[in-house]
């Protein structure tokens, strides 16, 4: 998958059918991060903070429901993926790119949590076996799509000009 061009409100990517299938596979995993993962504070735990924590979890649940609607729309929208000489064209708006990044990162972080939150920066290794391989796969694929989207938002020259 690579960016072909970027307009003010829209990004256009060239994507193979295999990559599209992988993207759909990853999006269908959403959400993966457990609801209790996010804490409002590390130190405060009084009644007020507990109430605020509950409100935070409600707000995040609402956000997830909204993102799931976006995913369904993306998966089912006719014409979203158009046939092109070298595969498919995927057109997404910049605001769609933002929620797509949220969704992909949820899958990436959720997969990492499922692996036991290994601190790879401290040298901790991820043991790949039959049980962990699906999580490693989804974490890496989600990260790869994130990198393409972030690069499209910030990097490179527009190849169409």
């Amino acid at each position: 998958m690579k960016r072909l061009w970027a307009r003010q409100k829209q990004l256009v990517f060239e994507i193979s059918t295999r990559e599209r299938d992988l993207l759909f596979e990853i999006l269908r995993l959403y959400p993966l991060v457990p609801p209790a993962h996010h804490r409002l504070s590390k130190t405060d735990a009084n009644d007020q903070f507990n109430e605020n924590q509950r409100l935070l979890e409600e707000a995040l649940a609402a956000q997830r429901a909204e993102n799931r609607k976006h995913i369904q729309a993306l998966l089912n929208e006719p014409g979203r993926f158009q046939t092109a000489p070298n595969g498919l064209l995927l057109k997404i708006s910049r605001s769609e790119t933002d929620w797509l990044l949220q969704v992909l990162n949820d899958v990436r972080v959720g997969s990492w949590i499922a692996l036991g939150s290994p601190d790879t920066e401290a040298g901790e290794k991820i043991l790949v076996n039959e049980e962990t391989a699906p999580h490693v796969r989804s974490m890496e694929i989600a990260g790869a799509f994130e990198t393409v989207l972030l690069d499209a938002l910030t990097g490179g020259q527009d190849r169409s000009r």
Partner: protein, 103 residues
């Protein structure tokens, strides 16, 4: 010249409510982003730009602080605004919390 109204003396209970209200509006809370080895550096920079409206250079500086020092204080604000920012950062699955500023 308009006359200035005499200050109203309120019972103690009202004064307590005033104090509570002031506390929630005072910038006494720190919004902190903690290091997570799983989040991509460019992604963290992007999120800081979106949530706080920062220029890329400032967002990168805070991202590097998170990466190198384990955490970065992103802003100091009122209880309500700090909660808002933490919620925004957690929407993006960043490890963010708010803590009382002890200083």
């Amino acid at each position: 010249m308009a006359a200035t109204a005499a200050p109203e003396v309120r019972p103690d209970i009202d004064r307590d409510e005033e104090t509570d209200s002031r506390t929630s509006l005072e910038p006494g809370f720190l919004v902190i982003c903690w290091n997570d080895p799983v989040n991509l550096m460019d992604y963290v920079t992007h999120v800081f730009q979106v949530v706080f409206g920062w220029q890329r250079q400032k967002a990168e500086r805070h991202m590097l602080q998170v990466h190198n020092q384990g955490k970065s204080v992103l802003t100091r604000d009122s209880l309500e605004k700090a909660e808002f920012y933490v919620h925004q950062l957690q929407r993006y699955t960043l490890h963010a919390t708010m803590e009382r500023d002890q200083e």
